[in-house]
């Protein structure tokens, strides 16, 4: 299945990417799985594993590691928010 992945703010800058389309291998079905899949590329992508305060959203709602991921979902990773 395919999902859309977005990166924001300091994470976007560090990765040099604002997003990508990702094909998930069988067995990756949670937000934690997507995070690990991307981090395992190594290099700058390892930041997804290292960032202790990494936040994420699935379909534009704040999500937890165990949140289920389905085909066509929009997944976003970003640092803690600082608006207001």
């Amino acid at each position: 299945m395919n999902i859309k992945v977005l990166y924001f703010a300091a994470l976007r800058e560090a990765l040099g990417s604002s997003g990508e389309t990702l094909e998930l291998p069988a067995g990756v079905s949670t937000l934690a799985g997507v995070r690990a899949l991307i981090a395992d590329r190594g290099g700058d992508w390892d930041r997804l594993a290292q960032m202790k305060n990494l936040r994420a959203a699935v379909n534009q709602r704040m999500a937890e590691p165990e949140t289920a991921i389905a085909d066509g979902d929009e997944v976003a990773f970003f640092p803690p928010v600082t608006g207001g």
């Binding site: 924001f8 959203a57 534009q60 803690p80 600082t82 608006g83 207001g84």
Partner: protein
């Protein structure tokens, strides 16, 4: 209409008037506006850029307003958050809560700001004499949001 994310500045008086137009049941209006300060964490700030997650920002703000309306007996709410590049003294955010009595209006206004600070996907980058830097999230904001749990 209760929530807007925009580059343009806003007029606080006009927004309050629009929210109250035609109503005679409002006794209390609590308003908060946040501005760009020229100093933060000891460094001069000569510009600030606000990045956001289009679509999710509006949804998150609508959700925060809906939660406030569930928790308090309030009559009308307006939230505006600017994005893009701003200068010191520029307005960033506006929250207006209209209610029958002041207790509810104050509490809901402060709740919306606390939740907005920790749950709405905006990120600030400041330009300082030492260069550009992303603003770190403040522990104080997490504590402020947690007290409503």
């Amino acid at each position: 209409m209760s929530v807007s994310v925009q580059q343009a500045d806003f007029d606080i008086g006009a927004e309050i008037d629009a929210l109250l137009a035609g109503r005679t049941d409002v006794g209390a209006v609590a308003t908060f506006s946040g501005l760009v300060r020229d100093i933060n964490d000891g460094s001069g700030v000569h510009a600030m850029t606000l990045e956001h997650y289009p679509g999710m920002t509006e949804a998150a703000l609508e959700d925060i307003v809906a939660q406030a309306k569930t928790r308090w007996d309030i009559l009308a709410v307006r939230v505006i958050h600017r994005v893009g590049t701003l200068q010191p003294a520029d307005r960033i955010v506006l929250v207006i809560v209209a209610g029958s009595h002041r207790g509810e209006a104050f509490a809901a206004c402060e709740f919306i700001m606390d939740y907005l600070k920790t749950r709405a996907p905006f990120w600030k980058r400041e330009d300082t004499p030492e260069g550009s830097r992303w603003v770190d999230a403040r522990d104080a904001d997490d504590s402020a949001a947690a007290r409503w749990n």
